[in-house]
Amino acid sequence: MVGKTLAEKLIGWHTASGTASAGEVVIVKVDYTFSHDAAGPLLINQLERLKTIGTQDTEWTSNTVFFVDHAVPAPTKEIANDQLLVRSFAMNNGIALSDAGNGICHQVLAEEYASPGELIVGTDSHTCTAGGLCAFATGMGATDIAVAMKLRKTWLRVPESFKLVIEGHLPRGVYAKDLILKALSILGTDGATYKALEFHGRVVEEMEVAGRLTLTNMAVEAGAKTGLVRSDEKTRKYLRELGREEKWREIKADEDAVYEREIVIDATELEPQVSIPGSPDKARPVSSVKGTKVDEVFIGSCTNTRIEDMRVVGQIFKGREKARGLKLIVTPSSRRVYTQCLDEGIIKILIEVGATITPPGCGVCFGALGGIPADNEVIFSSSNRNFPGRTGNPKAQTFLGSPATAAATAINGYISDPREFL
């Protein structure tokens, strides 16, 4: 028997036959479904149409979570109305509600819900983040998720997998974000469409879950269905710290699993990476864009604003001030991270450096709330996307990099190498 990739194993555990192989189209049982305020109104409308279909009991609501995170606090009456609809629907139907201020859905899912071996679908393209905990997690639209919620199943084409092997060790100033930007520059924006990206190698084995979630978060930026990392002692430690160790199980791909493509990256010689405006795959070494003047720095998003990232940012900012005239916005990814930042004195450092701190949420990343740039301004962002118009003004431009590179850039006012401050 041929060995299985992580995607094949995880999907196989959710099919009626108990197995799955790349290329097959299967119906899978779904463990968790979720939606949020940006897709929820559409999804609730579809759920109403499905009222008479499937189970008539309310069992489906027990493994469903609704988030209010996409623009909090609500900036317009229309968005407030959408959020009210999502909030009321959840409360009236016994659905778990992660309300405004609790955090970005992908971060909260990692903290409170997602566990190794599960199959999770949600109305957000960055659902793949949970693959960092070795759950098969993928994003879909509101209609797909409404059906998945109500029927507790969905259909999938079992993806072929790419094996990304990250060898060596991470040099000072280089982080998971730099690795995934480098990988995207090799793959391109559609280089892994329909595939699963499986992350391997010594660097990934030694990486904490925080970094793994950054790798898997951006799998979709290569078009992938999901990104996956094995579940090991690091995963166990992460779940233990969250009081969820009983959810841990060891999962790894078979030695003889078949991969469609293998890419090896040696981290040892890697420089911090920066993606130039247009798309995240346009990554290059920071040295090639160093000195580019920046008007706004955003440290936030579901990609990398966990406590581990915030500690690095705090270390760089401590005792310093942001560049004069530069706008600095920081968004901790969840209430938990925010509280940790407070306990560790990072919030004070951020305030002293001159940052505007926004509540946990998605608004700045996709131009829905806060941090909208003026015409012709340049943003340096730690988020995952820099498509034209992404940050709310098509006449502005966005560079992407790690939180450390963003922090260094905020101090100097131009794109800078974080190693200068570490």
Partner: protein, 164 residues
């Protein structure tokens, strides 16, 4: 029943189709539709006619899972989106709402060409250039969902999610 081709390039993102700054309009699709693709082509939304075609290069619809992106394109009356390739979630969303997303070689189609889609035959006729473009059939599951007019109609008919 023919319609005109509106040409777009490669890697058109959902941020260009339905910008995040229009988040407040997501429950008002008629208003949201007025902004469709405005960051890619300002002349598209005000002038597109029922039966017209969106014709793009590779990886159309990359990025977000927002289903409003194909929904507003459909609401404007677009007959089908033709592209060299689609981003995964956008493709699934289009079929789920009953909007044909057709993978075909679009290079020979020029801006303004009159096109006709014969979905069942797998052919796009370019009436302007007198060329017939064959396209590969979509997967049986996708085809079954599209034939019912979308996923909700499909599930309503079968009472369940089945594989075609």
């Amino acid at each position: 029943m023919s319609g005109r081709a509106w040409k777009f390039g490669d890697n058109v993102s959902t941020d260009e189709i339905t910008p995040g700054r229009c988040l407040h309009l997501r429950s008002n699709l008629q208003e949201l539709a007025k902004h469709t693709l405005e960051d890619a082509r300002k002349d598209f939304a005000p002038n597109v006619k029922s039966g017209d075609f969106v014709v793009a290069g590779k990886n159309f619809g990359m990025g977000s899972s927002r289903e409003q992106a194909p929904l507003v394109i459909k609401l404007l009356g677009v007959r089908a989106i033709l592209a060299e390739s689609f981003a995964r979630i956008f493709y699934r969303n289009s079929i789920n709402i009953g909007l044909p997303a057709i993978v075909c070689k679009t290079q020979s189609i020029e801006e303004g060409d009159e096109l006709e889609l014969r979905l069942r035959d797998g052919i796009v006729s370019n009436l302007t250039r007198k060329i017939e473009l064959e396209f590969p059939r979509m997967s049986p599951t996708m085809e079954a969902i599209l034939n019912e007019g979308g996923l909700i109609a499909y599930v309503e008919k079968h009472g369940d999610l089945l594989l075609a």
